[in-house]
């Protein structure tokens, strides 16, 4: 029975939000905001991030020189590859589509399905330290609906003090692009369960501190009062160098009418020994009043084989907790970026629950970030 639960959990995982790409630590980018608007990573790319996608990541991207007298991003790096020209003005716009096919097999059972993971429009305006950010699109819960899982306003002063308010994904640990990583699932923030909350931050050259408080997960605020409970999280990132960083995180969620009090604390360490290799590791201790504590460890080693081709190996483990058995994962993935904002990803997962046969999953996805 526990194995079936694990199998079902694996299937449900493959429908979620797009993530950040911390593998770019090897390019000496320690902060999510190097490429993304959101300080927690993921979602809308900044103009700079789009430019990097074109000039440094995609196989066919522009390698020519930048005209210093024309600082505007090149068309290839703009929304819809520049189809709208400069009509958007200060509005930054992105469209995210992620058609996928996932095939899982377990003990003679096989499940294959096509999933449109993302079909979103994301917009942001940034001016004088202020950021206004919003997303709208299709949500998979459990029937596809239209909604907005992220909308917030933020301000950061020139001294690095900032705040953010609205519905957002709180910062915790390392935000791996694979949203099914064991360090991301189970936090309660992974899918459409962002918080309505308030975050204060302090951003300096060497460190980033983010502290969030919330009256509850966003969906509980909207239509499920029974699940509503106080949430608080904190994340402290200390850059030990331009390609080495350590991240400490904590999460507390108070008891609700339907869930016990829970918490998590973790430490992540990332370093890039070369400009093509990034190694991230994170260990978390998680627990709740009902099931006790479990330990989660995730490693992701990413290697840029050639320009536009990233290979990743990710061993992971989550120890037993209540009805969930200990489970060990090995994930192998290849991401090809043939053109700016076009990612083709293939990932193989081997999830081995304790005392059961392994679950084999292959995920093929086309990630269009237009």
């Amino acid at each position: 029975m526990r194995s079936v639960v694990a199998f079902a959990a694996v299937l449900v995982l493959f429908a979620s939000l797009a993530g950040a790409e911390p593998a770019f630590l090897s390019k000496q980018y320690t902060r999510c905001t190097s490429c993304h608007i959101s300080p927690a990573g993921g979602g809308l790319l900044s103009s700079y991030g789009r430019s990097l996608s074109s000039r440094e990541l995609s196989t066919t991207g522009n390698r020519g020189t930048v005209d210093p007298d024309n600082p505007a991003p090149e068309p290839e790096a703009q929304f819809l590859w520049g189809a709208l020209g400069d009509k958007l003005g200060p509005l930054q716009l992105g469209a995210e589509l992620r058609p996928s096919r996932v095939r899982s097999s377990f003990a003679g059972f096989t499940d294959s399905r096509n999933i449109l993971m993302n079909a979103d429009i994301i917009a942001a305006v940034q001016k004088n330290g202020w950021t206004f950010y919003g997303e709208a699109g299709r949500e998979l819960k459990p029937e596809p609906t239209f909604g907005s899982y992220e909308h917030w306003a933020a301000y950061e002063s020139t001294s690095g003090l900032g705040f953010r308010a609205g519905r957002f994904f709180p910062a915790y640990g390392v935000h791996l692009a694979d949203h099914t990583s064991y360090n991301r699932v189970g936090l309660g923030f992974d899918k459409y369960d962002q918080v309505y909350g308030f975050e204060v931050s302090r951003n300096t050259s060497r460190s980033l501190v983010q502290v969030m408080v919330s009256p509850g997960l966003a969906e509980s605020i909207i239509d499920d009062e029974r699940a509503r409970s106080f949430n608080a999280s904190g994340r402290w990132q200390l850059d030990l160098g331009p390609a080495m960083t350590v991240v400490g995180s904590g999460l507390f969620r108070a008891e609700s009418d339907i869930a016990p009090k829970e918490g998590s604390a973790g430490l992540a360490f990332g370093f890039a020994p070369t400009s093509k290799l990034t190694i991230w590791s994170q260990g978390d201790v998680r627990g709740d009043d009902l099931n006790g504590a479990s330990f989660v460890f995730v490693n992701e080693t990413a290697f840029e084989a050639v320009r536009g081709l990233w290979l990743k190996v990710s061993p992971q483990i989550r120890t037993e907790s209540g009805p969930q058995p200990q489970i060990v994962r090995l994930a192998l993935s290849a991401t090809l970026l043939p053109r700016t904002h076009v990612n083709v990803n293939t990932t193989y997962y081997r999830d081995k629950p304790s005392g059961s046969t392994p679950i084999h999953t292959v995920l093929l996805q086309l990630h269009l970030y237009l």
Binding site: S26, K27, Q28, Y29, T30, R31, T33, S34, S46, S47, Y48, S51, L52, R55, E56, R63, T65, V66, P68, P71, P73, Q126, G160, N203, T204, S205, R206, L208, D239, G241, P242, S275
Partner: protein, 217 residues
């Protein structure tokens, strides 16, 4: 008679141009020890020669975090002054045309748009000279201290101040030094690109081994 004047002129010219740096230990006085007293790395009035080093320019970003620009193309030679108050003779030169930030876009911006290395030798290299150590005796240049120097960069020359640590290393010395550079003081435009920029002050970290002149030949 002509020969006498010629010899006098040569002596005068070179004596004046080299100045106190080439005086003997007896002329300099007890501040400098002999090589027998200090070991081979610290020969009296010895020249220290560096043929490569590890130069890292830490560039803090306006969005938080930082990146490093690196090169190993450091060379030069210096000679302690006759007294700790005197500057070291000689200079160190860093070739800026090969500064590497890890990605081509940043390299291009750094070298072409901001350092403007194509404008000529004064832009293609950085030159550190007139080094004066404080807290480290010139006669036995080992220890930690501060230094001042003249830095020629981007066609401008300014004074810089930093930290230095000198250790014996085989027959020479191992030097670790760092100093801040305010870009505006050297006429370098504020690096900005699509909302991401480098803050106005960067930090230069230099590590190199300098062989004593005799061993370096």
């Amino acid at each position: 008679m002509t020969q006498i004047w010629t010899v006098a002129l040569v002596v005068g010219l070179f004596g004046g141009s080299f100045g106190p740096a080439l005086r003997t230990s007896r002329q300099v006085g007890p501040g400098l020890r002999t090589s027998e007293q200090t070991g081979p790395a610290l020969r009296t009035a010895g020249t220290f020669v560096a043929r490569e080093g590890d130069v890292r320019v830490q560039c803090p970003l306006t969005i938080g975090g930082s990146f490093e620009a690196r090169t190993k193309l450091l060379s030069g030679s210096v000679m302690p002054g006759p007294t700790p108050a005197d500057p070291w003779a000689g200079q160190f030169i860093v070739d800026l045309t090969a500064l590497d930030t890890g990605i081509s876009l940043r390299n291009q911006h750094l070298r072409d748009n901001y350092l403007e290395v194509g404008k000529g030798p004064d832009f293609a290299r950085a030159v550190l000279s007139d080094v004066r150590l404080s807290g480290i005796a010139g006669a036995e240049p080992v220890g930690k201290g501060t230094f001042t120097a003249r830095l020629r960069l981007h066609g401008a020359e300014r004074a810089v101040t930093g930290q230095a640590e000198l250790r014996r290393s085989g027959s020479g010395i191992r030097v670790r030094a760092s100093f801040p550079v305010v870009l505006e003081e050297f006429g370098i435009a504020k690096p900005r690109y699509l909302g991401v920029g480098v803050k106005e002050q960067v930090t230069v970290q230099v590590t190199f081994e300098a062989s004593s002149g005799e061993n370096a030949r």
